[in-house]
Symmetry: C2
């Protein structure tokens, strides 16, 4: 039965494997610091509905009442998560990249519009990178920098490397467009 849950359910279940009991709000914060960068951080309401479903399935144990309710993963939840990770293929990443899409169609608008879009995207990438740098630092400063934070650190380093590389590529593309392009405006 566990196998039939959507990936986001397993993702939230997985965020409960770092050794602590979390409220829905705390789980949302953890999703914002992790899932946000390479999945989709579910809305607060979805976090609560997923926690309800996981509790119903016996994969999560709820303690307390109302907003103060804390959730821990159950043994059954841990088994279901491990089975899912071992027995199903993750699949290839899905990317929806509106900047690449519009660059493909650059001939439809003037070159300055495209250059401005690329420059804006460099700034957006820098902001995301800065947010991830903070996450990376918090992993380093964690109380117990043991095995449990090793994988999140690897993923954060992957993300930082990705952002850095995207910024470099964008810089190259801007330079190529700047150099090769016909000049629209007069001198």
């Amino acid at each position: 039965m566990g196998q039939e849950l959507p990936v986001t359910s397993y993702a939230l279940l997985g965020l409960l494997t770092f050794g602590d009991a979390l409220t829905g709000y705390e789980l949302k914060q953890r999703a914002d610091a992790t899932l946000r960068f390479y999945w989709v951080s579910p809305a607060m309401s979805q976090v609560y509905s997923e926690l309800g479903r996981l509790t119903e399935h016996g994969l999560v144990t709820a303690t307390g009442e109302g907003r103060g309710t804390t959730y821990t993963i159950s043994d059954r939840g841990r088994d279901a998560l491990a089975t899912w990770m071992r027995d199903s293929a993750p699949g290839f990443p899905v990317l929806k990249h509106p900047v690449a899409l519009r660059l493909l169609l650059g001939h439809v608008v003037d070159r300055e519009t495209t250059l401005a879009m690329l420059r804006d995207h460099v700034r957006a990438l820098e902001k995301e990178r800065d947010a991830l740098v903070e996450v990376r630092e918090s992993l380093r400063g964690a109380d117990s920098p043991g095995e449990v934070f090793r994988y999140p650190s690897l993923v954060a380093d992957w993300g930082l490397d990705y952002f850095e590389n995207e910024s470099r590529i964008l810089g190259d593309l801007i330079r190529r467009l700047d150099e090769d392009g016909p000049v629209e405006e007069g001198p």
Copy 2:
């Protein structure tokens, strides 16, 4: 009115700006060679329904009948596309990366499971890269290698750089896991 179409409609409309009349099937092929890498290549049935909608809106002109019908972008379509590109923000890319998600939760399974997943992903990346290399070559060999193929070439180079970088990062991650990791199996 044009502004209210989904991004995929504009994407397909944009693929009709490369100077030729295409059948639905040919448009699907063009989507598979472009959108597939950084958006979502719509299913054949969706291509036909989008073309129907674009024709209704007067953004596309249909000629002929049945499967042989060819589609060209109209002046109105060109205006709608340019307006969309100039006046709306593209937004930040959305990435759903199941491999990064599972790496975050690596402590839930044994290290070999995670290493095998990362190695599989390197192979999947190589396959995607090979497919994109072919697209890049076809752009180089095009009959009229003019302005119109300049932007698709930039995007293809971006994609190739991205794939290459992902493979490099994956290699680094595998090495770090291999070196630092506790050995599960005996000698």
